[in-house]
Symmetry: C2
Subunit: 222 residues, 2 copies
DNA sequence: GTTGGAAATGATGTCGACAATATAGGCGTT
DNA sequence: AACGCCTATATTGTCGACATCATTTCCAAC
């Protein structure tokens, strides 16, 4: 089961505009904290204001923009505290996801996950740092999807992960920690393979907590 | 700090329609799983289709309705599995909320919370079952808000709690468990007052887990 | 009788125009 | 010069009409 199986393709014009805007926001083409003028965007993207409004509404439900009545929409502003709070939620949710994955993933899915990790290990040894982030993402996504919990999947995949990526891009952080994180991944998968829910959750929470601590250190020194 | 301080009042027409629709959906006036026709609703609520569309968009971000492009919106259908999954997410998030509340609530807020619980105890002894649900809600809301984590607050207050109430109303469940739940509340507050993050999280998780088990029993016997 | 397709119907998606509101700037007063 | 008010302007909110798409229905062919 590929991740691509879960990205619904854009059919309507509002869909495309939404996806485009989301990329532009996450990647920083439109600066964080800036105002989103409907008229301006409608000329820029060559669509009507109704389409822009629809796109902005969806961005708001991703927590990427905030709207005030009769005033307009602003892209959320990124703060160190906000990033910490995001990681706290992520710790809680992905911990639960790992617990549920240990219960609900099929043996085949677990085998695939193990294979993925071995594959990932080869490329890490090779020192290809580009594939690292994608590999990390794949690992986390598979466990989230493996929880089989729709609410969990929705909040993490459509909400939190885009925000985290936005922080990562705009705070100029490198991808996830390289060497140590890999062992942590391995242990989480082992716990899942052993169907040890308790341990899987604990290890995943620790893994994310370490990430958070790592980020906090980088934030302080900069 | 009252809960009312956090309910933004409706200023625009779409706001009012959204709030009205949300009540009608949660309380079951519009049956779960039914289709939401834009034209029909626009005549029923005496507003233009644009307003209805905006309202439906917001309902979608609460996970109360689902939309498909060029087809329309349906109210989510309620399933026992969905309710269980909801409680799993709730356990993870409110557990984390209790942990953060133990760290971040002010001494005054904790004193207020303790007073609330004493007050609640008096009414429970009096046997007034109506106030019970409100008291339970107040308890949980204060801890959620006490976490001081905006993401946590958003997801729980604007998302999950409305859904849970929808399940509670439409599955015809009584309010929260009466007698035992009160002791659990007391212990959570004690842990928070002692600033014991670990225990506060564990107790809150157990509290919600018991609720879930209680619900599962009721679902099976019906 | 069944199946396939095309037209008809009804819905959602998109658009431009108008109304209502917030903000900025200028003007007058103190 | 500072403050308040009022007007001007620009933005958002709302509306009705049109375009586009999904679904249904009906008819014809097999």
């Amino acid at each position: 089961m590929s991740i691509a199986a879960f990205v619904e393709q854009a059919v309507t014009s509002a869909d495309k505009t939404f996806l485009q805007l989301r990329v532009d926001i996450v990647e920083g083409a439109i600066p964080a904290g800036s105002k989103l003028s409907e008229t301006e965007l409608s000329t820029k993207y060559q669509v009507s204001r109704a389409v822009i409004r629809e796109a902005i509404n969806r961005l708001e439900s991703c927590h990427l923009v905030e709207r005030k009545a009769n005033v307009g929409a602003r892209i959320v502003s990124l703060t160190p505290e906000g990033l910490i709070q995001l990681y706290q939620v992520r710790e809680a949710l992905e911990g639960m996801a790992a617990r549920l994955a240990a219960k609900n993933m099929s043996d085949e899915e677990i085998a695939d996950l193990t294979a993925l990790l071995d594959n990932h290990f080869q490329t890490v040894k090779g020192g290809e740092s580009y594939y690292q982030e994608a590999g990390d993402l794949d690992f986390h996504y598979r466990i989230i999807l493996g929880s089989k919990n729709q609410h969990l999947i929705e909040v993490l995949v459509n909400g939190i992960y885009h925000l985290i990526r936005m922080y990562r891009v705009q705070f100029g952080m490198a991808g996830p920690r390289v060497t140590t994180a890999f062992d942590e991944h391995k242990h989480v998968v082992q716990a899942i393979a052993n169907r040890d829910e308790e341990l899987a959750e604990m290890l995943m929470r620790r893994h994310i907590l370490y990430s958070k601590n790592n980020i906090e250190r980088k934030l302080l020194q900069s």
